[in-house]
Structure formats: C-alpha cells, structure tokens
C-alpha cells in the first residue's frame, strides 16, 4: 500500500554565519519523508541539528538550501500572506521549555485562543471561549484554568497548555521539539500518553524531536538519527533498536542506561570514533557524508562502499 506523504524534506540545509567567512553547518543536506498519520522521531546529541531541522521546516529560520514540500506544495516559496496563513494553520509546534514558551502576561485563554483569533475560527466571543474550554478539557485541564496566568501552573500543566495552543487551529502536523525533557519522570509519561491519545483521536502526524531514546522509541513509528547536521540512519523504531547499523547509532543505543541493574552490570558501551571534520567550516567546503542506502526495506543507513560491502558480507 502506497502511503500518502504529508511532508517531504529534500536536501535541507541550514548554515549559520559566524563571521570571517566561516559557517556552522547545523543542518547539512538532509532528506526524509513523513507519512500521514505517523510519528517520526528525530534523535541525536545536542548540537546535531535536530531542533534546527524542526525550526527550519516550520519556517522559523529561512532555509539556506533545499525544499520542504507539505501536502504537495513547496512551502518555503510561499510568500503571500494568505498562503502563509494557510500553512501556519496546518503546521504547529510544541516547544521544549514550558516556562519560556508561554507569554507570562497573557491569560491561558488568550494564549490558547491567539491562533483562533488570527485565523478567525470563532464567530462569536462565546464560540471562542467554548473552543478554549473544550481544548483545556482535551488536554486534561479544566474550564477554571482559562482565566489564570502561566506562573500559576506546574511544568507539566504548562506543557498541556502549549499542546492546547497547538491544537487550537486544528493542524494536521505538529512538530514537538523536546516536549518532555524539562518535565519530571512521572509527568513525562502523562504528557506522552496525552500526545499519543491526541494523535489517534485527531489523526495527527508528529515530528517528535528528543534526546531521550527510550521515550522516542515508545512514541515513534520510525526514527531518524542525526549526527553533526546529517541524517545517518533512518528505520522503523523496532528495527533501529533490533538492528542498528551505523556505528554512531550503535554507540548512542549502547549508552542508554536502563532501569534494570542486571542489564546495567553487563551492558558494554560502544564508543564511536568520528571521522568527520565537524560542523564548522567555510561554506564552500564539502562536508558531505556517504549517501543513505536502503539496506533492508525501509531501513536507510549512511555507509561508504567499503562499509556496505562489509555489512553485506556479514549477512551471509
């Protein structure tokens, strides 16, 4: 069955100038598709470009190069106000820090309804408030919370407000940038459950960016691993864990401590020796990595010819 592609990222690049002709190649030519109704996890260490990828897709940064095609339309070429509005309504974002991402001087109702106002979704004041109440209940808060200010809420509750704000304009696609890493363990599970539930009920598609690999595995259908601005491996969540192929993925997976002392006593960490020069350089320098190859159906890995031959030999 051919699944519908909701988002196509083609050779996306995001370079930041740091002076003297040097640039940081935060994202350096990555390509992937996101299918309708799936959760694509994006993992990697800080500085690997995963957040920049998310922010560039939604247009918070102007891409240096490459295309983002959403529902068949190239979104970064759209410049008219009407086009942008339409795009912004379809794609929303949930941010990492629930303390910094809510305006402290606005009430919860105004924060959630900002999108409703901009897109003119509510016909009357009453309609607007009813929508806010519905959204609050959807994310596990109550009507009474609408008139309060962000500082009156805990981190987990704030993240729920952030989720309600994203849902307010009835988007198809949500980019969640480390939505749980600032929360306590017991609250993380609550928020992840809520996000999964919403995804099922509302037929949403997520790009879930995180560094907590256990949580990413739990929520994602497919996972992409980023390293220094490149996508080095992309596979279904199960296959990535069962059969990681890229040396960096192996090192990342082997570094996660699990809540199981017996497992921890025998866990061997694999150390990844990077051969790349790193993300800082001149903009005309080539920092490309070996191409992604499909080593098994749906499992893509960046491998050199030699590595690919070695991998095939080991299969026999």
């Amino acid at each position: 069955m051919e699944r519908e592609k909701l988002l196509e990222v083609k050779n996306l690049k995001q370079h930041f100038k740091i002076g003297r002709g040097r640039v940081v190649k935060a994202v350096d030519g990555i390509s992937f598709d996101i299918y309708k109704g799936e959760v694509l996890g994006l993992v990697g260490e800080s500085g690997c470009g995963k957040s920049t990828t998310g922010r560039t897709i939604i247009g918070l940064y102007d891409a240096t190069d490459g295309d983002v095609v959403f529902k068949g339309e190239n979104v970064h070429e759209k410049k008219s106000k009407a086009d942008k509005l339409k795009f912004n309504r379809a794609m929303q974002m949930i941010f990492q820090d629930p303390y910094a991402s809510l305006n402290p001087r606005m009430t919860v109702a105004d924060i959630i309804a900002e999108g409703i106002d901009i897109h003119g979704l509510a016909k009357t004041k009453e309609d607007r408030m009813n929508r806010v109440y519905d959204l609050l209940e959807t994310v596990g808060l109550t009507k009474e919370h609408a008139s309060r200010y962000p500082h009156e809420f805990s981190g987990g509750q704030r993240q729920r407000i952030g989720i309600a704000r994203a849902l307010a304009v009835e988007p198809d696609f949500i980019i969640a940038d480390e939505p749980i890493s600032a929360l306590d363990v017991s609250i993380q599970a609550q928020v992840v459950n809520l996000m999964k539930e919403l995804q099922r009920d509302r037929d949403l598609t997520y790009l879930f960016i995180a560094h907590d690999l256990s949580m990413v595995k739990y929520i994602s259908d497919r996972i992409g691993v980023m390293y220094q601005g490149h996508l080095v491996e992309l596979a279904t969540a199960d296959r990535l864990y069962e059969n990681p192929i890229h040396a960096y993925t192996k090192s990342l997976l082997s570094a996660i401590p699990l809540p199981d002392p017996e497992h921890e006593r025998t866990r061997k960490r694999i150390v990844y020796e990077s051969t790349s020069k790193g993300p800082v350089g001149r903009s005309d320098e080539d920092s490309s990595i070996p191409p992604l190859r499909e080593v098994e159906p749906g499992h893509y890995v960046s491998l050199t010819d030699e590595e690919y031959e070695a991998y095939k030999a080991q299969l026999v």
Binding site: G156, A189, A255, P261
Partner: protein
Amino acid sequence: METILSVRDLEVSFHTYAGTVQAVRGVSFDLKKGETLAIVGESGSGKSVTSKAIMRLIPNPPGEITNGEIMFEGKDLAKLSEKEMLKIRGRDIAMIFQDPMTSLNPTMTIYKQIAEGLKQHQGLTGEDAKKRTLELLTLVGIPNPEARLKQYPHQLSGGMRQRIVIAIALACNPKVLIADEPTTALDVTIQAQILELLKDIQQKTGTAIIFITHDLGVVANMADRVAVMYAGRLVEKGTVDEIFYEPRHPYTWGLLGSMPRPTDDRNEALPAIPGTPPNLLDPPKGDAFAPRNPYAMKIDFEKEPPMFQVSDTHFASSWLLHPQAPAVNPPRAIRELALKYRPDSAFAKSFTKGGAE
C-alpha cells in the same frame, strides 16, 4: 561495613512569605564507606535539600535545619559553627553540582579554581599545587592537562567542564562525595563517560558517593543502595536489586512503571502516575502519596505509615506492608521484573495470590 555518615530524623524548613515549606520531613539513612547511595525522587521531593543540608549549604534565612542530626566522624554537622564547617566542606565532604555551566567561575582559570581548595585545606602552593592539579586533571581524564591550566571554563565543552567540577571536588581526597544530578545536563554518551569516570575514581580512592538523581537508568547503573524520596520523606530504601526487583512502595512502582522500556508495546499507554506532588506548605494528612496512589486504602488518608522492615537491608513506608493489609498485585512491569529475576522471592510469590491490581 563501616558507617561513615549517619543522618537521623533530618527536618529542613524554608520560611517564605506564603508560609513555612517543610522541604525535608524526617529523613534517616546511613552511608557506608566506599559505597554509592542513590537518592531518587522528583523535583520538590527534598533530595537536593537533603544533600545541601549535609553540606550545610542551606541559606539561612530563609532555610533552617529544624530537627535531626548529621553524624560524621563523631561530630554533628547540623550543629557545627560555620567556621568549623569550613574545615570539613570541600575537604572531607565535597560536592558535584548539576550544571557545569554555572558551577564554575567564568572569570577564573581552571588552575586557579582547582588550586583554591588545595591551598585552603592542604596549604599547597606554587609547584606543589601545580603538580597536584595536573594529577587531578589526569585522573578525571582531561587530555593535554598542561594546556588547560591557563584556560577558562568557556573554552571547554560541557563534558570537559563537568570533569573539571569533579576534579575540584576530588582535590582534597574527600571521604564523602555528593553528586547532585551530575549528568542531567549532559548528552547520553557524555553521561556514560562521566558515570564510568565516577565509578573508576571510587575504585581508586574508596570515596563514598551520595548520588542524587531522578533517572532510574542511572541509578541501576551506579548505585549499591537506593533511597526513594517523596514529599520530603524517605518512602523506601534498600539495595539496588531490592528496589528494582522487589519494590514494595506504590510510589516506587509508579516511578519504575512510568519509564518506557525498549520491549514495551507502543499501543499500550505508559503507566503514568496521575496528579502532581503535594504542596509542602501544607503537607497532606496521612501518607502524602495517597491522593495519587491507586492502591491507597482508607488508612492512607488518615495516618502516616511507619517504616516497615522487609529484610535486613530493605525498608518501606507503606500500609500495604501491614500484616492486616489486603494482598495487591503491583503493576505489570514490576511483576515482570520480579518474576524474571527473583522468582523465588516472597514478593514474587505474593502475586499469584491474586488481589486487585
């Protein structure tokens, strides 16, 4: 094994405009020579305040140790004067803080920051201090230590800075090392390196470590014994195997259950702990965890449970351990681990008896 630090009935309060916050409400534990004790809990559980009280780093006002004693080498740290405490802090008991970005002084060179403690506590200056600093930098795995001496913190990566923080803590061969979420701000691969380093140092120097964290994966990796805190109290303590394979407190079940495991079925909801921790301005009557506890009984809302002894090393404060309590089945993830690793334990055998889940 010999006990090196003994905390008894520790209570710490903070006097705020809104009232008195009882951050730590009667905590007792022993730390043995050369072991790693992990203190686990969520933010606001009192785990960091407990460690700061041991170091006497609670700002007064607004904070105050209102009760209890902290016995170390025959002295009660809770009652020492600041002048006496200065001799112990950083020498016998040292601390590693969470955020290596803020716990180093940005205007001092690496050498000056490490040598500060050496001069203060051991009177080392000049070449001696330099020699010892280089030793420490080598011990914590900093490449090319000579070149680092004149560098400033901003020239180093997060992992390298945390190594410097560890070097400062180790400068005077402390008997007790308190690590307050030392790897929370770091990436998993860097975290793994720092944990390996701490274990390695413990083996070489024999220092006892109090490891404060909310990450149960890190606990499983590091700890010999574990103490679980909730709302300012210790709710369960035991060896690392007891806590992970035979946990008795419903809060420990909740914490262990809410961590996803690679084998989890993605179609099932994660067993989250409902609700939020209580406000310690006005701690609830009875067991503070009762409102979030699916296993709570009537008595949990009325009377605080005492510490029940499960084994020589294992204690838990839950009415479920009372002889008259009904048998309950812990969450599935907990049962699975117990049946896998401790099929013959009394805990695992109690499951088959049935009872409500």
